[in-house]
């Protein structure tokens, strides 16, 4: 009981809505980056940024509502993101080896 009060005193008094706005801004910056840049590696980084915006939101909800699941979910998102980056970078390296560029506009092989 004593411990809980101790922790509670350290808790932020900021309303949860602020975290909502912050993660929205970060997410939009990520989207903007994806649209703005042509370098595939930067785009990958922007995607990471978007993932982190979502993670932040999840953690804030978890912590404000006192629910464990949000944090576990974030943990799994990190797992997937790590795997994604590993594969994505490997792909980029092999693409670069073939066309000597990471410009996504050069990657127009998806046209049938």
């Amino acid at each position: 009981m004593q411990e809980t009060i101790q922790v509670a005193q350290n808790l932020p008094s900021t309303p949860q809505t602020w975290y909502l706005i912050l993660s929205t801004i970060l997410f939009s910056i990520g989207v903007m980056g994806v649209l703005f840049r042509r370098n595939a590696i930067i785009i990958l980084m922007c995607i990471e940024l978007m993932l982190n915006a979502v993670n932040l939101l999840l953690v804030s909800y978890s912590s404000y509502s006192g629910n464990m699941e949000g944090q576990v979910f974030v943990f799994f998102v990190m797992v997937v993101a790590a795997a994604e980056v590993a594969v994505g970078l490997a792909l980029l390296v092999s693409i670069y080896r073939n066309i000597a560029s990471t410009d996504i506009d050069v990657l127009s092989k998806m046209k049938w």
Binding site: L11, P12, Y19, I29, F36, N39, Y64, S65, M68, Q71
Partner: protein
């Protein structure tokens, strides 16, 4: 009051570093500022009493992912000069679209009925102990599956990046 100031500082840091990631021309700077951004987000996690996640975040993102990114950037010898050039029309369109997305999300959030939490109801949720208990009991199966995912990702990365003979 103190925590609010810290929140503002951390928020400002994360937004500015995110913007640098997008707008700087040198890929190296992008990577570095993204690391800054991730650190500030880790700070947010600490603020939210999720110590375990904060640590994992720094290890995974700043320690592993971003180092990998940096390696790749350097390996491919990407720099300011090799940066592909986009027309200004597309740049303006991208900024407008991104801003529009933000506005739309915020606007749609306004109409959504949200549970307004003013203060966090913390019961020691973010500690290593509680997250670990949860992971190894309730979420044991996804946890194990994620290790398989990691393994396949590892094999895939090796296969893809390997030089063809």
């Amino acid at each position: 009051m103190k925590s609010e100031i810290i929140f503002y500082l951390l928020s400002a840091l994360s937004i500015i570093s995110a913007l640098v990631v997008v707008f700087t021309k040198n890929p190296i700077y992008s990577v570095l500022s993204l690391i800054v951004c991730f650190f500030s987000i880790a700070g947010h996690y600490v603020m939210l009493n999720s110590q375990f996640l904060a640590i994992v975040h720094i290890i995974v993102y700043a320690g592993a992912i971003m180092v990998l990114m940096l390696f790749t950037v350097m390996l491919l010898n990407l720099n300011k000069e090799s940066e592909p050039h986009k027309s200004s029309l597309i740049k303006v369109a991208a900024i407008i679209t991104g801003g529009l997305l933000m506005l739309t999300i915020l606007a749609s959030l306004k109409t959504t009925q949200l549970t307004a939490y003013s203060t966090p109801a913390d019961l020691g949720l973010g500690s290593v102990q509680s997250v670990g208990m949860s992971l190894f009991t309730e979420y044991l199966l996804p946890f194990e599956i994620s290790s398989i995912l990691f393994m396949s990702a590892m094999i895939g990365a090796v296969v893809l990046a390997k030089k063809e003979r």
